[in-house]
């Protein structure tokens, strides 16, 4: 319970600092959204109108007052409204979360389907053709930029073979190419990490002891070797999940897939401060949630962690 309280306090302090730093960084960048709001791209706008709106929006006030105003509303769980759509920031974020979550999970699935078999096989058959293939795949996967890989996949599966749509959202088929792009780009470090971790685990004494006791090889592999090797992979998994949930702008743009990344970039370009702040706050919460989740997974994968904690107390 104390651990949870401490974690919560740390998180609140972290989120507070995050909002302060991000607020000041965004506001210190030159320009503001007033011209965009007044439609200066094709409407006549005078300096007097700009000044008037700036005053009305409180943008002429000192930054600390603007932050205090924003924070005051935040304490009432009001993140404000988007200047571009006039909708609540929470609505804006919640609207794109399902698409982002779906893409994140499907990409992780693709990554797992590629990385786990290749990592495991290359550890089991060191120096074999599979191991060499995994090596080459990792090299290419790391070197190829995501957007280029995406274009290659579209060209192959959509233009030449006609199996999959080039872009869009709403059907399972729309998810395949963006998930493949992200999954393939993410897989190489997992393959290398899993391979190294498995090789290390396989050489441990308790594995030899288990074999000597006559425990089945499949049981030993899945319940001892793989379990022991998963800890570093889980750490990387947490990082990947966090970054995927933050949005993958290039992939989203390429496949016309509207997610959090596009929302954040558009808001930044239009200086839609409320949405940017809301997005950063959301990302802070996601980071906390993913960390906590990974923490629990560590304990499941390796109960020794919990036992050691109890002993230390």
């Amino acid at each position: 319970m104390n651990r949870l309280k401490r974690k919560l306090l740390e998180t609140v302090a972290f989120l507070f600092l995050l909002t302060v730093i991000s607020f000041f960084l965004i506001k210190l960048a030159p320009g503001d959204p007033v011209r965009n709001i007044l439609g200066a791209e094709d409407l006549v706008v005078t300096q007097a109108q700009i000044d008037e709106l700036r005053k009305e929006m409180g943008l002429d006030q000192p930054l600390y007052l603007q932050y205090a105003h924003w924070f005051g509303k935040l304490t009432q769980l009001d993140l404000g409204k988007s200047i571009t759509t006039h909708r609540d920031v929470v609505t804006e974020i919640v609207r794109v979360v399902p698409a982002t979550l779906t893409l994140a999970l499907s990409s992780l699935l693709v990554m797992s389907v590629i990385a786990f078999p290749l990592g495991i096989l290359s550890a089991l058959y060191r120096g074999s053709l599979v191991d060499k293939f995994a090596n080459v795949f990792s090299l290419f996967g790391t070197s190829i930029p995501g957007f280029w890989l995406g274009l290659i996949l579209i060209d192959l599966f959509a233009v030449r073979l006609g199996w999959l749509p080039t872009m869009g959202i709403g059907k399972i088929s729309h998810l395949v190419l963006p998930s493949l792009t992200l999954g393939i780009s993410m897989a190489p470090p997992y393959i290398r990490l899993l391979r190294a971790s498995l090789i290390e685990s396989m050489q441990k004494d308790y594995i030899r002891a288990a074999r000597a006791r006559g425990i089945g090889p499949v049981h030993i592999f899945f319940f001892h070797i793989l379990r022991d090797s998963l800890l570093p992979v889980l750490t990387l998994f947490g990082v990947s999940l966090g970054s995927l949930l933050g949005g993958t702008v290039i992939t989203e743009v390429l496949f016309g897939y509207p997610g959090l990344g596009s929302l954040a970039v558009t808001a930044l370009l239009k200086k839609d401060y409320a949405v940017v702040q809301g997005f950063l706050l959301f990302m802070g919460i996601i980071a906390f949630a993913v960390n906590s989740l990974m923490d629990q997974f560590y304990r499941l994968a390796n109960p020794a962690i919990s036992i050691k904690e109890v002993e230390q107390r």
Binding site: P30, G31, R35, N36, I37, L38, G39, A40, E41, D42, L43, V44, V45, T46, Q47, Q49, T84, T85, H86, R87, R95, V96, V110, V113, F116, P117, I120, L121, L124, Y125, L151, I154, A158, G162, W163, L164, P165, T166, M167, G168, I169, G170, I172, S173, V176, L180, G216, P217, V218, I220, F222, V253, L254, F255, G256, Y257, P258, S262, L263, T266
Partner: protein
Amino acid sequence: MKKWSFRVTAILALILSLSVLAGCSGDKGGTLKEKKITLIYTFSTNTLDPAVDKRYMALRSGILETLVRVDNASMKLTPWLASSWQTTDGSHWEFTIRDGVKFHDGSPLDAQAVKISLEKLTAANKGLKNNLKIASMEAQGQKLLIVTTENHPGLASELAHPQTAIIKAAAPSPDTKPIGTGPYMVEKFQPNAQIDLVKNHQYWDGKVNLDKVAFMTNEDANARLMALQSGDADIIMKPASESLKTISANPKLQVDAVKGISRVHNVIYNCKRPLMVDASFRKGLDALINRQEIVNTVLMGQADAAQGPFVKEYPFAPDYSAHAFGLEKALEYFKEGGYPVVNNQVLGKDGNHLKLKFISYTAQPEFPAITQMIQDNAKKLGIQLTIQLVDNIDDYLIANEDWDLSMYSVFAVPRGDARYYLNTFIAPGAAYNYARITNPQLGGIIQKYNVELDEKQRNELTRQATEIIDKENYISYILFPKITSAYNKRVTGWSTDPLEYYVITKNLDVSAP
């Protein structure tokens, strides 16, 4: 060891096979009798409410219509939902709303509905409120009487602005399902991705040919091209210049390029800077811009060289003087301004080498190449242009005074007249007067223009203002980019709209397979 390795491998192979099978369960198809096309536009929107959507998607996609529209053939304002309009003094206007027009929900369009729509718009959009300058409105059947806060000869032009599109104000969700009068209705809207449209069977302006339209968006030119090549898209906007040959080589596809009539790329001189105060110096730099070479090499022919801000087809465009390119010509101007020229190298009046700060940005993909071409030519005369790329050009040009010249691209004629350009970029004290023009003669002409009711007089005043800009060379106009699209030849009735306002029309159709 071998035995258990085999078992683990077998389990992994099974997982992999199942995953691959699951992933390939794609779906393609549709009803054979349904006439449907897919268009991919360049940028997206997260709302369809015209009051706040600055991408104008509801108008572009044929959902909403405005009272007045810009006719691209005559380049003049023409009636749309308003069948006519008149004013006697520029402050009192009478718009006659077209008879027989119905909203998508079947309710009739009358002056009262238009009044409510405009009231809702001006309440939500300060920019349009400032531009429409409506003091009061009165609805009398199909007559809408508008009184403006001041003499406002440009009101009809402002009512061609896409955000003034008429919407059923009582619609429950104008941001996702606006109810308008256009040839298509919203079936489903996925923000920043796609608008699914269905035919409006009771459209007032004749038969709508297609049953459905998918209006998709994608900012990536390569992705749009591949969608066209794969058959996922029937029409794509703005294919990359370098892909036009590939598209033309495909017998199923067609490129359509129309003359740009609105946007102009230019170089703005900061007339507050010591060297830029001098018109001769600005003209010298202007002569270093090889417009035709830029059009041919950077834009690959997809543009027309510009001599002024407005294409010559507009009735208010003057006969521009020829802006000839040439190092000799440039040297003439520099000498005329009293700048010493030693061994074909231009020096400052104090005898020092000339160094200027040249601002550019990448939002217009061709700008870096254009900037470098100008830099190269200047270097031949010993003028060093230091290029600085900035993220937000408007913020930079407003907030900083340390730059000498800058690339810029402007929507000079958004609605058939010069009001926006003259008042926003040229008038002394205007919000975007980046050139820092303070010419009182120019200011006086623009003031006259703003209150002049007679169209011929307004055109004449625009010409006078443009001639001063041309003579003083405050800005070097480089080119008018063409508006391009590419489409599958099965599509009929497609024509690229040079303003990109009227993209989806009732005329679009598909030929029988």
